[in-house]
Amino acid sequence: MPEAPDRIYIDEDDRKLLEKIDGDPEQLFSHDAGRSRKEQFLCFMAFGFRHGVKRPIEGKKDGLFLVKDLRPEDEALINAVAIYDSGSVDVLANISRVYETAEQYARGGMRLLLDSIESSQTGTFEKKLEKELYEIFSNIVDKQSGGVKLGE
């Protein structure tokens, strides 16, 4: 079995994109607004997953944060993405693949988010995001209203 990675990576080229986001303290995802690298990564991953955009790291791998910083709930989300993506729980036996899947979605999500931020007028991105979250939430509620209630 390959040795489990000790850190989560991004593409070296994406560091510039990350810095772009970080430059604005008013920005929801900005490092300056108090978001840790791990939190940023999970959010990008969620965005990429939502839109089904995966982008493998093509260039040089650049360590973003250490795996030891992941809490059980962070791991649960990363694992869930890997399970959904592979269609099998067996993927969990291959932790490198689990992280790789997460990295690919995060890479896709980061670009999507940046595009969305850049295409929004100042102050409207958060509204857009809120609206999008409401839409997803409504779908979840609609889907579940016939069957098992949300959270039950």
């Binding site: 649960a76 959904y84 729980v89």
Partner: protein, 655 residues
């Protein structure tokens, strides 16, 4: 008595001036119009100098100049005497002609006048032509019959007096005016003398009896305390009157003005509230951003969360979670055909058995452990997603409420700004501050007045007690019985003198109140607006609106001046001195309709009384001219000569 002629010779800017005051039809109205610097006011000074040897209205410039005309000085030979002379010719009711003549003799040395002497005489000529010359005391007493010096300010004055008379504290002024008009100073002198005699009597009696002396000393002490107390009460009442007048004036000024002090305080409070709300809003918005960020990490992963949750549930249902068999251990045993627990080699039966078990186990224990670890966090995320709408709505509502509050605050600030715009807020604040100060001063003095009155009551009781004791002592000691009778007489006389004084004052006050009311209501242009004029026990004058409230503080400047004029004319009437009224700049402080109305009133007054009015040329505006020109018995214009050393008079019209 009216002035028939005024002759000035070498008096200040007037080299030679001879004014005849003829009457015309119904009006005894005489107008003098003068540009700035043409010594119009010195005509009032000339009257005062002639009658009282005083010049109460001298300007700062005139004070630096000699009384004798500069041209007369220039033309005088060295060591020659020059004469300043003012003559007032008056006509009394018995057709007597009275000439008041004052002469000042100055010796001019090196163009400097040196005063030598001043002479005053009164010439009284009867209808048959017999002339009586009066000098010294006799002459002065004749002046006192014309206009007594102590009340001259009610006859010859500046229009400013009418403007300010009822703007400031009135109680003291009205009381003093009534006191002067009543001429009760003789009674005051009698009271003082009687008091002195009484004290002497008591001292004399004290020599005969130590107990009388001790009681007398105590009585004197108590009476001094009473005097002190009354003086303090007077000061206190003066302060209250002054503060009340200032409060009235400031309230009048502040009518229709925004309460800048309160509004500015309100604006400051609103500003602080807005800042506080801004901070709360910022915190709430940050909170919402955090919440959105948190949900942005969970909600888009809902499908993955949901799927994993379902898988875990299924595995649990199938008994694979928690794991009972270690799949990798079994795989290792099969590969090596050796039991990893006991170390024995596996036979074919054992290999088949392990293979059967392995076939049944689909999930490695490592994966099962992972799934087990995921179960709780995923459930937590599900709960969190369930509360998404509630959490976001709550915080959005808080933000919305805060923004609405801030909008309201902004609106209020805007309203205050609008209310304050166009006003001198600094001035309004100063007035409000002054108002608060005077209200505080009045309240303090009212409290102090209460204490002082209580102290006075105690001292009065003490005085009565000492007096009763003295009476007893006087009866006991034989030697002082005669002195006792004198004492009783003096005390009674003193009491009568004081009561008489009070009665006269009261009677004069009532008469002046009646006359002021009558004249005011007769002369006022808004006949229906007012119903009464009152002078209360504290000599405060009140003007009563027809609806019943006191309105002196809110009437126009013209109406206030008219009240002062009515009061002045009432004083004339009640004093019994039917002398002319001479007003310098009578309408300068009035404008527009008020000026016009007041001008009309002065015309009306001139039907019953000789009115000599000295106008500044700006003041003698078209709205005054249109009433006065046709009614005036004489109109004259003062002009300054080219060398500015002499004022000449041009008679524009004379009856």
């Amino acid at each position: 008595m009216r002035i028939e002629r005024l002759i000035l010779s070498n008096y200040r800017q007037f080299r030679e001036l001879d004014i005849h005051f003829a009457t015309k039809q119904d009006h005894d109205l005489h107008l003098f119009v003068a540009p700035t610097g043409t010594a119009k006011t010195n005509l009032v000074n000339a009257i005062n100098w002639c009658l009282y040897y005083q010049e109460p209205h001298l300007t700062a410039d005139s004070q630096l100049l000699p009384i004798i005309n500069l041209k007369a000085i220039e033309e005088a030979c060295d060591d020659a005497d020059q004469e300043v002379k003012v003559e007032i010719w008056a006509k009394a009711k018995k057709d007597e002609t009275i000439a008041f003549v004052r002469k000042g003799i100055y010796r001019v040395r090196s163009k400097q006048p040196v005063h030598q002497k001043t002479e005053f005489e009164v010439r009284v000529t009867d209808p048959k032509g017999n002339t009586k010359l009066l000098i010294d005391e006799d002459a002065h007493s004749y002046v006192e019959r014309f206009v007594p010096q102590r009340i001259r300010e009610f006859f010859f004055f500046d229009g400013e007096r009418l403007d300010s008379y009822f703007r400031e504290a009135t109680g003291d002024k009205v009381r003093s005016a009534i006191f002067q008009i009543s001429q009760i100073d003789l009674l005051d002198t009698v009271s003082e003398k009687l008091d002195l005699v009484l004290r002497e009597l008591l001292k004399e009696a004290g020599k005969e009896s130590p107990s009388i002396d001790a009681t007398r000393a105590n009585l004197e002490k108590a009476e001094n305390s009473r005097k002190d107390c009354l003086q303090k009460i007077g000061e206190c009442e003066k302060q209250i009157d002054m503060a009340s007048a200032r409060i009235k004036e400031l309230r009048e000024r502040l009518v229709g003005m925004p309460d800048a002090q309160t509004l500015e305080k309100e604006r400051q409070d609103l500003g602080a509230e807005r800042k506080r709300k801004e901070e709360v809003l910022k915190a709430k918005e940050a909170q919402k951003r955090d919440l959105l960020f948190e949900y942005a990490t969970i909600i888009p992963l809902w499908l993955a969360i949901e799927k994993s949750t379902q898988v875990i549930a299924k595995k649990r249902a199938e008994g694979e979670i928690p794991p009972t068999v270690d799949k990798s251990l079994l795989e290792g045993i099969l590969n090596e055909k050796v039991c990893k627990i006991c170390g024995r080699s596996l036979d074919s039966l054992a290999v088949r058995h392990v293979r059967d078990v392995l076939e049944q186990v689909t999930l490695s224990s490592e994966v099962a452990q992972q799934l087990l670890r995921m179960e709780h966090p995923l459930g937590m995320f599900e709960d969190k997603v369930k509360d998404f709408e509630k959490n976001i709505s709550r915080i959005s509502k808080d933000i919305g409420d805060l923004k609405a509050d801030m909008g309201r605050i902004e609106e209020s600030i805007k309203k205050i700004n609008t209310a304050l715009s166009g006003h001198n807020t600094e001035q309004i604040r100063e007035w409000n501050e002054a108002l608060n100060q005077f209200e505080g001063l009045r309240a303090d003095n009212q409290t102090r007045l209460g204490e002082l009155k209580e102290a006075q009551r105690r001292v009065d009781t003490e005085i009565q007690r000492h007096k009763a004791e003295l009476d007893r002592e006087f009866k006991k000691v034989e030697k002082v019985k005669k002195l006792g009778k004198e004492k009783v007489f003096c005390a009674k006389a003193l009491d009568i003198a004081q009561k008489t004084k009070e009665a006269i004052l009261q009677e004069m006050k009532d008469k002046i109140e009646y006359e002021t009311k009558r004249l005011f209501l007769e002369l006022v242009w808004k006949k229906e607006s007012f119903k009464d004029v009152r002078i209360d026990q504290k000599y405060q004058i009140s003007l009563i609106h027809w609806m019943g409230w006191e309105c002196l503080g809110t009437v126009s400047a013209g109406e206030r001046e008219l009240l002062a004029l009515a009061f002045t004319l009432a004083l004339h009437k009640v004093s019994g001195f039917d002398s002319p009224i001479v007003i310098d700049t009578p309408v300068a402080r009035l404008a527009g309709e008020s000026r016009e109305n007041f001008g009309r009133v002065l015309c009306q007054v001139s039907k019953d009384k000789q009115c000599i009015l000295l106008f500044h040329d700006d003041e003698y505006s078209s709205n005054i001219r249109k009433y006065m020109d046709s009614k005036a018995a004489s109109r004259s214009l003062f002009r300054l000569s080219q060398d500015e050393k002499e004022v000449k008079m041009e008679v524009l019209s004379n009856a």
